[in-house]
């Protein structure tokens, strides 16, 4: 069922790709693909490395150590998630470009020309890597944290008694054990990066996604664009396969006897401060700086004083779509994994894998692929109504915004599926067996054992999906009903007129809508430290 839902747009895209577009394809392979592949690989590699080091590092420090300011960081670390990548790109370009704030500030002390020479050029590959990495690291952080904080104490202790340093424990014990979660986080980061059009195009990086977009728009070749999309899907499938292969034989379950959690190590003095500073820096850059910039723009442009009432309506639409989609995605993801857990089989494995491919489709391609099946249903309903002699109901799925919610669910289903699966991989089947031996049925086992242990993974998934839905742009633009805007589409309206700053308030509302759930959920996601 879930698989069919996700497969629909994929099949539709493949069907589109079947239309011959030989000329276009020859040109694409000759001029476009090689460089797009290199740029894509460089960007993915760079962003992945940056997000992994920040996300895993911070998660390890915060989960397994105690230091001043840790409580504050718990709340702050996931927040860059609320900043859309394209917004971060605009903000940082604006700050660091010549005549931007940094330039003007430095120019007070140094000659203008000299400053231009030393300013980093953000409209470049390294610029794109840093900007995108800084706002995407929470994907790794959130999934890594669910892993680190449930890591059983005995492995680290055993390593320590054998003389391993804390650093060695991190590298050789904690990190390998967290690998499934890190892989999920990294996959999310990579797919988000792969999907981005706004930031990459603006910063001058030509990824496959940008190529798909221009092939369709400028060459007027939907078939060519669909072929490129299939090509990209194949790459993503390949990456997933490699990751699976790399993880074969890795046993990451708890030992059944000792679910004792690792006590948090206390860091005092300079070490505590260093840990705090190390975690704070990415939050400052990925969240605080963009938010301050947006706040400053909102005040300076009088956006607060002349509050546009329609923004309230847009915010309501955003939250409504995102909430519905999050609940559906969580339910479907859980059901898919549960089916696999209870009765593994090739069919269910396939279903599980298919339900994770939605994320690999760029939002716009997904929306295009979704148009055909969704509208076929709508038109079918009308045809039946007409045949029955009833008055035609109109386009129900598209007209009601249901199409937007369906697109979100398909696109982000990979998040709950991936995280819950990683969570389940840590729950030994011994537990299920013991529960069954004690007379508990599947439902009871799930309620009393699985659900409590899965809670961090599920909460992480809820945050990510909800916030991702709030930010989603291309599919929302194309599939939304008449007279309906969301915060993201409202920002787009300003950005496309070349003054994204006028959308600052809408961007802040996305942040505000995200902070609520993030803050509320982090309250529940921190488990008490194990006994020392």
């Amino acid at each position: 069922m879930t698989a069919i839902l996700v497969a629909a747009p994929v099949v539709s895209i493949v069907a589109l790709a079947m239309h011959p577009a030989p000329d276009v394809w020859r040109e694409l392979t000759a001029y476009v693909l090689p460089l797009a592949m290199i740029d894509t690989a460089l960007l993915l590699g760079g962003v992945g490395a940056l997000a992994l080091s920040i996300g895993a590092g911070a998660a390890w420090l915060i989960s397994l150590h105690d230091f001043r300011g840790r409580g504050l960081l718990l709340w702050l670390m996931p927040l860059p998630l609320a900043i859309p990548t394209y917004m971060a790109a605009y903000v940082y370009a604006d700050l660091f470009e010549p005549l931007g704030l940094v330039h003007r500030t430095l120019a007070v002390w140094f000659p203008l020309r000299d400053v231009v020479a030393v300013l980093p050029n953000l409209r470049s590959m390294p610029g794109a890597i840093v900007v995108i990495g800084l706002v995407l690291y929470p994907y790794v952080y959130l999934s890594a944290r669910t892993m680190f904080q449930f890591q059983s104490a005995e492995f680290g202790e055993a390593a320590r008694t054998l003389g391993a340093s804390r650093w060695n424990v991190f590298w050789r014990v904690s990190l390998p054990m967290a690998r499934p979660a890190l892989a999920v986080g990294l996959a999310l980061v990579s797919l988000e990066t792969l999907n981005d059009i706004g930031a990459t195009e603006y910063l001058g990086v030509r990824t496959l996604t940008v190529s798909i977009f221009t092939t369709w728009l400028n060459r007027g070749s939907l078939a060519g664009a669909a072929q490129l999309s299939c090509f990209m899907l194949a790459i993503v499938a390949g990456l997933i396969a490699v990751e699976r292969y790399g993880r074969r034989n890795v046993e990451t379950e708890f030992s059944a006897e000792s679910p004792r959690l690792t006590p948090r190590t206390r860091l005092d003095g300079i070490r505590g401060w260093s840990a705090f500073a190390a975690c704070l820096l990415p939050v400052l850059l990925g969240f605080v700086v963009p938010v301050l910039f947006l706040l400053q723009q909102s005040f300076r442009r009088g956006l607060l004083a002349n509050f546009d009432l329609s923004l309230g309506r847009d915010a309501f639409n955003s939250v409504a779509f995102a909430t519905l989609a999050t609940l559906m995605a969580l339910a479907l993801g859980f059901a898919t994994i549960l089916a696999w857990r209870w009765r593994p089989g090739p069919l269910r494995l396939a279903a599980m894998n298919i339900s994770q491919t939605g994320y690999a489709l760029p939002g716009l391609v997904l929306a295009l692929g979704l148009l055909t099946p969704v509208l076929a249903i709508d038109n079918g309903i009308n045809a039946i109504a007409g045949w029955l002699g009833r008055s035609l109901p109109g386009l129900i799925l598209v007209g009601s915004g249901a199409a937007v919610v369906i697109a979100y669910v398909i696109r982000f289903l990979a998040v709950p599926t991936g995280l819950i699966k990683a969570g389940y991989e840590r729950i030994p089947r011994d537990y299920d067996d013991s529960a069954r031996a004690a007379g508990a049925g599947q439902a009871t086992t799930m309620r009393l054992i699985h659900l409590p242990l899965l809670r961090p993974a599920m909460l992480g998934a809820v945050i990510i999906v909800f916030v991702d839905c709030l930010k989603e742009l291309p599919a929302t633009l194309l599939l939304r009903p008449l007279n309906v805007d969301t915060l993201a589409t409202s920002i787009y309206q300003f950005a496309s007129r070349g003054s994204f700053e006028d959308g600052a308030l809408a961007a802040l509302l996305i942040v505000a809508a995200s902070i609520g759930p993030v803050a509320w959920l982090t309250r529940f996601s921190d488990v008490p430290s194990g006994p020392a």
Partner: protein, 342 residues
């Protein structure tokens, strides 16, 4: 029956997400607009239209794919009118077969033949020109041709956004239409060799890069400069450091692109759609258009906004828009072939 369908769609809409929709499918009815123009820009126009005619306007805007949506919606599509910002989208919509001839004497009378479809499938409603933002300090020339942009004397002095952006695609397609692919390729290579940096950013950034001394001339659309100058105190210095030069083709005019209007094939409110289209090329709407987005009105006799008029007299190139549209794919391929964006 049709009326009920629209009503039902509205009702469903109401139920889910939009308190904004009042069920004002009043006596005069409504019209549904799919637009590539931002709603915030066109809303004042539509409000004025509703005030004049009593017809309610429902809007959905997107950055791409609207013609695909209309196509998939098929005979049940609620779309009446499609507004585009670029000849490329006009071309796509006609090619997708989602339009019908408008047939309006008003349009034939008001819109110059060069800016409408001989078969009546589309009409232009406003124009923007692709021009040069030249450094006030460092550029002495007052007139520059498009051909000259490839001259080595500009080496390392030009800033431009991605060669695949639709604005540049339109300009390059005009070059291909005029000189053929081989000459256009040579010109693009020359232009690329003159770039100060990799194509990136938007049109505003071209002005900023000139202001910052990264390059001497930036390439951008007419209205961005006016928006920076008049509507954005922070960006005003960027515009002030530059002056706008209207380049021309040798022996021709300045490259302009169109925002256009099309009538959907299955338009359920066809009559209202035609009314809206005719209203959009009326004097009142044209004046709103010209003043709110700093574009050249399509209607002769409507006052051009003073900022735009300050660029000098526009001598729009006489090449038919349809010829430019026909060369878009070739232009896109050439951009990749010469590695313009790399």
């Amino acid at each position: 029956m049709i009326k009920f369908r629209v009503f039902a769609a509205t009702a469903v809409l109401l139920g889910l997400a939009s308190p904004a929709i009042t069920t004002a499918s009043a006596e005069n009815g409504e019209v549904n607009v799919y637009t590539y123009r931002e709603t915030k820009l066109v809303q004042p126009l539509f409000n004025a239209f509703t005030a004049d005619s009593g017809i309610k306007v429902n809007v959905v805007s997107a950055s791409s794919g609207l013609e695909q949506r209309i196509k998939a919606e098929g005979a049940n599509s609620p779309a009446d009118v499609l507004l585009t910002v670029d000849i490329g989208r006009i071309d796509e919509a006609v090619a997708a077969g989602v339009t019908q001839p408008i047939r309006s004497e008003t349009i034939d009378k008001v819109v110059p033949a060069q800016y409408r479809d001989p078969d009546g499938h589309w009409a232009g409603i406003s124009m923007r020109a692709r021009v040069i933002y030249a450094s006030k300090d460092r550029v002495k020339q007052d007139a520059i041709t498009y051909e000259e942009m490839a001259d080595p004397k500009w080496k390392g002095k030009i800033c431009i956004r991605s060669g695949q952006h639709i604005y540049n695609n339109g300009l390059f397609a005009a070059y291909v239409a005029r000189y053929g692919e081989a000459k256009a390729e040579e010109w693009l290579r020359g232009l690329k060799a003159n770039l100060a940096q990799k194509p990136s950013g938007g049109d505003r950034e071209a002005a900023r890069d000139v202001a910052a001394g990264k390059c001497d001339i930036g390439i951008g659309n007419t209205y961005y400069w006016a928006l920076m100058m008049n509507n954005d105190p922070e960006k005003k210095p960027w515009a002030e450091a530059t002056r706008v030069i209207l380049p021309t083709f040798q022996g021709g005019g300045t490259h302009v692109n169109l925002s256009g209007v099309l009538l959907a094939k299955h338009a359920p409110n066809r009559a209202n759609g035609v009314k809206l289209i005719e209203w959009l090329i009326g004097e009142k709407a044209q004046q709103i258009y010209a003043d709110s987005n700093y574009e050249y009105p399509i209607r002769v006799g409507v006052a051009i906004n003073p900022t735009i008029a300050g660029y000098g007299k526009l001598n729009a190139d006489s090449l038919p828009i349809s010829k430019i549209a026909a060369n878009r794919k070739a232009a896109a391929t050439l951009v990749d072939k010469v590695g313009f964006d790399n």
